[in-house]
Amino acid sequence: MSSSTCQYRSGLRPRVSTGPLGTVVRFAHPFMVTGLLLLLSTPSNALPAVITSQAPASRPTMPLPSPVSISGATPATRSAPGKFARALLLEDYNTRVVVIGTLLLGIGSGIVGTFMLLRKRSLVGDVVSHAALPGIAMAFLIVEITQPGTGRSMPLLLVGALLAGLVGVGCTMAISRFSRIKQDAALAIVLSVFFGLGISLFTIIQKLPTGNVAGLQQFIYGQTASMTSGDVRLIALASLAVLGIASLLFKEIALLCFDEQFARSNGWPTGGLDSILMALVVSVAIIGLQSVGLLLVVALLIIPAASARFWTERLGPMTIIAACFGGLSAWLGAVTSSMFARFSAGPVIVLAGTLFFLFSMTFGTRRGIVRRLLLQLAMRRRVGRHDLARTIYEFLEPELPLLESSAHPGSGDPLCIPLLVLQDLLGRRTWSPKRLGRLIQSACRHGLLQVEPKGWRLTSEGARHARLVARNHRLWETYLILHADVAPSHVDRNADLIEHVLEPELIEQLVEAVMDRYPQMDMPPSPHPLAQGS
């Protein structure tokens, strides 16, 4: 098993011995380094100040109301395009805070989602987010009972969500490990049962005096507008932590994704790495609850990664592209929902991702549909030209001795002498006149045929091509008859399919296997009668 399947660029074995800093420098993505430096160079309580310092110095920072209402933050007097540009360029402090938080989330989920997609565990994120609901409700209830009025403290709610999410993932694994229930049913069971419990607890909370669930409801549908700067700072920190861990352990997780057995046989702690990956997924899902909502957070984990797959075959670029798609859709969603009150952020973020996905699926440079169709079309054309060239050769073959004797010595290939008309070729294959005309045009464009006043004539390149194609075809036919015991009446169709993809090395081997039977000849004779033209 070669580790090149894991697409390592430097060295065969993953090394982490250069210390964390070295690893960061080697693998870290540019945005991550910027983010980390930004974070490290300032005390953590000054994060909003860091963000504002990027703004033009002349703009005074406005005090941050809590919770921030984005749509209300923009003065109503401004014109719509100006408003849009302002939102897009993050000129408003509030929008900027929210958008940066969502953007980081999108980037983190793109990276983690890539790993999950490769491990074929995309839907685990769905289980995590649904399972988080009872955790949130429990945390709220416990905090409200012990310290009334502080129940909506975001860190505690998120800790509850995190614990419940981990329990949910653990239950899924335990069910599919210890019973005959399959993985898919285990996912669905944990997802629905935890969610049901969460909804029950929510209805209880709703009926309590301080139980205004408006603050909790945002976890279900996602509501960026109600984020406070503290929430955003939390999201930013958690996203950066996810980015940091993903970058530090990039090689190890890649190894896990591509070849788990190889990793284990090389002594890597695959169980531990798997747990770390799960922890990353749980963290991203929990962070995403607030902006996208638990019903849709799984989309952030799947869609950017699946979109990125259409553009590259390498893991490194795929991760970066997925992060870009995730970040872009999150940014677009957050901005749009800050512009129009009716477009809630969660669905818009997901649909922006879906648009990117459809675009990638259509135009992706590696696996996109258009590229595949173009390749198919080119192949069809090539096959058509091959068929035409062989048909011409077969048509002219009976006259070859005559042509050779009548040609002047040194005047080129005798195949180039006769003039061809449509009628000569039409009945020899199942071509319609229209298709034959198109094939001839294509052959003319490729310099295989030249147009004459009353027909066409093979160029010397065309004659060479025709001989080559016919030779390949007959070599394969003869090989089948001699070595595979196929009846001569059955070899034509088989050779028709394979002749277009024969490699030069294979042709050489075929020549060795077949041509000692025909020592004097350039190519074997056709083993079956050829179709005659109409």
């Binding site: 069910i175 898919d184 996912l187 629905s192 049901g196 419990l197 009926k207 301080t210």
Partner: protein, 476 residues
């Protein structure tokens, strides 16, 4: 009165004295919905398409919202006379028809789209499903927000259901019960009609194709029926919690039986039980959960016993509890049973080993390590108890003595052991110092026929490779 007893009394009051006709109707409606879901769910679980059920329960949202928008547009444009007054959320024949048409369409659409993404984009199947259903669900959520003026749908009601309000009018059979009951009847009829086709295509798709059963049609039919059932149940159980009723009862039944018809019957029973118990738990959960904290400032002004939780949510939770019970206590696949079986096997093996040790000790005390005889571990004591109950040994547990039947059993065991040693030495050239460990494991599983076969194969050997005598099954 102790607090525990107090709580029990309260629960009894809630469940028995304050159980009204409304509660009965809630349970009936929810049970009908759950039972209707369990039937297609059985096949989803067996076909390993549970997450398809999850996806369908999400994607019916745009179908429902679309149905409301279109029927609203029809009514306001005057194509149909609005019935039921000017209430925009009113259910009527048009809305219902549109909803079921929408459900069939969206069910097929989900299946077709995810297959398209999987084929054309070469995306892994679960990821393709995830992309399709999150996108469609997002469209549904956006539609609710965008058309909020014309369609008064509360997303909470659609997603989590409002079975508590099915019978607020107080007369007749609730509409939701009729819809769910209809879905249940439809599903039952379809399963009875296509039982053979469903069974074959579920367990052996290749056989189904060779028998001329159109498995593609069955696949899309199942998707459409699941979507219809989800829509019929959304009013009571709620969109998202339908997934619990689709998957959890069949999974529970799957732990209990291996027969398909029994599986369906059990899933339906479990579904009905979770509906009934779910409503009961919904009524008592706040009491159970919050009574210990009744003195907290938050709860001082609250009458805890009058609170209740969402019935749909508790139905899902209860079905999860039933699943857990089946997982632990299932008759053949339950964890407890399996653990017990393993325990019994361990005791039997320990007992047989003890028989062998006593026999060898009588034969030649030199060969037996005296520490083995005085072992006082729990397994040993259980083994002695087991042997004594079967009348194979007498005497104290530290120095047991073989009875005559115990002697016969021990002889058979030692015979098996030594025959196996001879067999391995003869045929596989296993070195003498490795023979004992192998025979020690195999001796418990060699029945008389196999012993005789080995003896015949080896021409009735008298002595094993160590030179000890191989006893006969029956003394001469």
């Amino acid at each position: 009165m102790t607090p525990q007893l107090d709580m029990l009394t309260t629960i009894k009051t809630i469940l028995l004295d304050e159980w009204f006709l409304l509660d009965t109707w809630i349970v009936v409606t929810a049970a009908l919905a759950a039972m209707g879901c369990a039937i297609p769910g059985t096949f989803l679980v067996l076909r390993r398409q549970s997450m398809m059920g999850d996806a369908l329960t999400h994607t019916v949202l745009p179908g429902i919202v679309g149905a409301f928008i279109i029927s609203h547009a029809m009514k306001t444009s005057g194509w149909f006379a609005a019935t039921g007054g000017e209430q925009p959320y009113a259910f009527d024949a048009i809305t219902y028809t549109m909803m079921f048409v929408g459900a069939v369409a969206i069910g097929a659409l989900t299946a077709v789209l995810s297959e398209w993404v999987q084929r054309q984009g070469r995306v892994e199947s679960s990821a393709a499903l995830g992309i399709v259903y999150t996108s469609l669900f997002a469209v549904g959520l956006l539609m609710i927000r965008l058309f909020a003026d014309s369609v008064h749908i509360d997303p909470d009601c659609v997603l989590y259901g409002s079975v508590e309000t099915v019978w607020v009018t107080g007369d007749g059979v609730p509409r939701a019960a009729l819809a769910s009951g209809g879905a249940l009847v439809l599903n039952t009829l379809l399963v009875v009609a296509f039982f053979k086709e469903l069974r074959v295509s579920t367990f052996d798709p290749d056989l189904a194709i060779s028998l001329g059963i159109n498995s593609t049609a069955i696949h899309y039919g199942l998707m459409a029926i699941t979507a219809v059932t989800a829509v019929a149940a959304f009013e009571s159980v709620g969109n998202i919690l339908v997934i619990a009723m689709l998957i959890v009862p069949p999974a529970t039944a799957h732990l209990l039986t291996d027969r398909l018809w029994l599986l369906i019957v059990l899933s339906v029973t479990v579904a009905a039980a979770s509906a009934w118990l779910g409503h009961a738990f919904a009524l008592i959960l706040p009491t159970l959960l919050l009574t210990p904290f009744a003195d907290a400032p938050l709860l001082r002004s609250v009458n805890i016993t009058s609170l209740d939780a969402s019935t749909a949510g508790m139905m899902a939770t209860t079905s999860g509890l039933l699943f857990l019970l089946a997982l632990l206590l299932g008759p053949r696949h339950g964890l407890v049973i399996r653990r017990l079986h393993r325990g019994f096997l361990a005791i039997r093996i320990a007992a047989e080993d003890l028989l062998g040790v006593i026999y060898r000790n009588q034969e030649d005390p030199e060969t037996v390590n005296p520490a083995i005889l005085t072992d006082r571990s729990l397994t040993r004591r259980l083994a002695v108890w087991w042997l004594r109950r079967r009348g194979l040994v007498t005497g104290s547990s530290t120095s047991p003595v073989l009875t005559s039947s115990g002697h016969a059993s021990a002889r058979q065991l030692v015979r098996a052991h030594r025959l196996w040693e001879s067999y391995m030495a003869h045929h596989f050239n296993v070195p003498a110092d490795h023979l004992h460990e192998m025979a020690h494991r195999v001796e418990h599983f060699l029945d008389p026929e196999l012993r005789d076969q080995i003896a015949e194969e080896l021409d009735g050997p008298q002595r094993d490779p160590h030179g000890r005598e191989i006893p006969l099954d029956e003394p001469d």
